[in-house]
């Protein structure tokens, strides 16, 4: 069956994309919400090849297509109709498609990393604390509680590829569980832990490509980029197979073949490439730090963070171990500290400077974790996304590393950096302190100067800051029982003009709608919360004058399942005039393809003689919106 043709014909039969409000699909049906049902040619729809039935229900035009095919028709339909009902990710992709490739790549990495930051921060902090405690109290490391906590602390980092793979699978549109499997393959217990490999000699090898080259049987603990590449390959193979494998085999052929090919390519091609890169990086790093007068360290301090980004920094502990073996002086660790705390400081500056709450709430914990030696949240979650802080961190890292080299700072052990590094640099305390301070201050100042909120990020801020405040009721303002005062700010809209049949034809009751300019709903009068949908997109109030009022934010927004909505009251609560009930994210809701026009409906219209819209054009909070007569 030709999905594209089917979708095209459906779109034509419903009166084109202009007549479509939104679309979704369930297991068997396309569920479309139509602006004008008069334009829908039902008989034409029923005769389209692939359509098994058509009926109208619950205000939706439901087109039965069948399991397994409906999603494919839907995919085509979404493309043709230009609706973005599917997901935010599609919208993001569309937005990103104009940017140059490296920006897209950086943005994608950020998008992948952001959702898993809480996991990394939790374990990162625990990891740093445990590392510090065990250096301060050597006996602590031998206790059973340490063994237990140590397990908690390194789980997320040990299994990082699984977290990355799941997040990447979501971004690339691959099956999330197959993505997880790829992540699991990459850190399978039968492979040697990448952190314990050392300098790469005497590793067991595995067969590949008929012996053309051998691969090392090492895992990808702590890796980022190879995992992302692997999942990208998975998504390409999986999508291709979905299109080309006949439906009846799709369910077992596609996952099997996707995992097989991706796994094989990952282990035999991506793996060797990265292990070769790591070897070069190791050689390069050794050569760099041998340049005297702090110059080599300066360069290494700058280069350190990019090697973390590329995921080729895992063999650095080999350098440290060989230094400790040679003369007991680990001069690598101060360089790593400078680079790490500088990234943390750069993220901290972003956190203080930004007016965007989301970035702020991410930058601060990420930065703290970097000071304890775990830099991934700061680098991937914040600095790399905006690039400039990363550069600021590199500059700070370089300066700090140069100081360390000139002062001859060295550690007497390895395994920790950052704040806890003081515990293993007791021989050169002041040098280490100076390294730390220089790296932090330089990175913070540079980042503070060069980082600026982009327009889109700044715009969100004032709205987010004011959004949950209650609206003040002016004392002098007279209150007239026969009016409904606007719970929203925006443009007053006639109910009949709401692009949804159920509302427009007064099925739910009578009233008026507001096309909101600010994402907040306040109580229009004193009363009680009768019903609050757990998706927070609609709220029913019983006002003290007996009026029942339903405020339904957006059209079909029940399908968002609460995303973009936040409520500040619960069922049964007493509310006073002007009190904030719900806040909602207008750009987010619109980016998902939903309209935010909000019907304000009197659901007991039978108790009134007349209900008329009483406002034209712009209305503010608690302006008169509807007039009634009993």
């Amino acid at each position: 069956m030709d999905y594209n043709k089917c979708a095209k014909e459906i779109l034509a039969a419903i009166g084109g994309k202009d007549n479509l409000i939104s679309g979704a699909h369930c297991a068997t049906r396309l569920r479309l919400v139509i602006a004008d049902n008069g334009k829908v040619k039902k008989s034409v729809l029923e005769n389209i090849d692939g359509v098994k039935g058509v009926f109208e229900a619950a205000g939706q035009l439901q087109i039965i297509i069948g399991t397994g095919t409906v999603n494919k028709v839907y995919d085509e339909f979404v493309k043709l109709a230009g609706i973005s009902a599917a997901s935010k990710d599609d919208v993001k992709k569309a937005a990103a498609s104009k940017a140059p490739w490296y920006k897209k790549a950086i943005k994608t990495l950020g998008d992948i990393f952001v959702p898993i930051i809480p996991a990394i921060v939790a374990t990162g902090l625990l990891c740093g604390l445990l590392g510090g405690l065990s250096k301060a109290f050597p006996n602590f490391a031998n206790t059973q509680i340490f063994t237990l906590l140590d397990m908690f602390s390194n789980a997320a980092l040990t299994f990082l590829p699984i977290l990355i793979a799941v997040s990447a699978a979501k971004i690339f549109g691959a099956n999330v569980y197959l993505g997880a499997v790829i992540g699991m393959i990459m850190i399978h217990p039968n492979l040697i832990n990448a952190w314990s490999v050392g300098d790469g000699t005497n590793l067991p090898t595995l067969w590949s490509w008929f012996g053309a080259w051998n691969i090392h049987a090492t895992g990808y603990q702590g890796h980022v980029i190879p995992v992302v590449i692997a999942v990208l390959i998975l998504s390409i193979i999986e999508k291709w197979l979905h299109r080309h494998v006949p439906e009846m085999f799709d369910l077992f052929v596609t996952p099997l073949v996707s995992v097989l090919i991706t796994g094989f390519l990952t282990m035999t091609v991506i793996g060797p490439v990265f292990s070769q890169l790591e070897t070069w990086v190791l050689t390069g790093a050794k050569w760099l730090i041998s340049i005297p007068f702090g110059i080599g360290s300066f360069l290494m301090g700058a280069a350190y963070a990019p090697t973390v980004v590329a995921g080729v920094h895992h063999m650095y502990n080999a350098i440290e171990l060989s230094m400790l073996a040679a003369n007991g002086q680990n001069i690598w660790m101060p360089i790593a500290t400078a680079a790490n705390v500088a990234q943390g400081a750069a993220a901290l500056a972003v956190g203080f400077k930004t007016r965007n709450k989301k970035i702020k709430s991410m930058a601060l914990p990420a930065s703290l974790s970097a000071f304890l030696g775990i830099t991934e949240p700061a680098i991937f979650g914040v600095n790399l996304r905006f690039v400039k802080p990363l550069i600021a961190g590199m500059i700070g890292g370089a300066c700090g590393a140069a100081v360390a080299s000139i002062m001859g700072v060295y550690a007497t052990a390895n395994g920790v950096t950052g704040v806890f590094g003081f515990l293993i640099t007791t021989e050169s305390f002041f040098g280490y302190l100076l390294t730390f301070v220089v790296a932090t201050v330089v990175a913070f100042v540079v980042s503070w100067i060069i980082y600026r909120d982009k327009d889109e990020e700044a715009e969100e801020a004032p709205e987010a800051e004011s959004s949950s405040d209650d609206v003040e009721v002016k004392a002098a303002e007279e209150y007239d029982d026969s009016f409904v005062y606007s719970p929203l700010k925006g443009k007053a809209v006639l109910m009949a003009d709401v692009p949804d049949e159920t509302f427009a034809t007064d099925v739910l009751g009578m009233g008026a709608a507001v096309d909101p300019s600010e994402g907040k709903v306040v109580a229009p009068a004193d009363g009680e919360v009768t019903t609050l949908f757990d998706t927070n997109h609609a709220i029913g109030l019983t006002l003290d004058n007996g009026m029942e009022l339903l405020i339904h934010v957006g059209i079909n927004t029940v399908e968002l399942n609460g995303e973009g909505y936040k409520s500040y009251v619960s069922e049964g609560d007493r509310v006073t005039r002007g009190q904030t009930l719900i806040t909602f994210d207008i750009p987010l809701i619109q980016s998902k393809g939903y309209k935010t026009v909000t019907p304000v409906i009197i659901t007991n219209p039978d108790d009134f003689k007349s209900i008329v819209k009483a406002a034209d054009g712009d209305v503010g909070f608690l302006d008169k919106l509807i007039s009634t007569e009993k």
Partner: protein, 86 residues
Amino acid sequence: MKEFSYTIKDEIGIHARPAGNLVKLVKGFTSAVTIEKESKPAVNATALMKLMSLGVKCGDTVKFTVQGDDEDAAAKAIEEFMNANL
């Protein structure tokens, strides 16, 4: 008096739109119709706000009680509505 139960199959449950349509349907009959969700007290099926406040979700079972002159027709229409929409 007629009574019957229905288990919701729709993923979203009785949200604003189906609730409104159900109320509209029930209002077309003279019979008194109540809806009851498990432990909660029965509500009048023409009271939209009360109906919505039942918070009926996918998998919930609701009990309808229909009483009046046209109870047979009303019960049949409601059952059809539920089957088609929920």
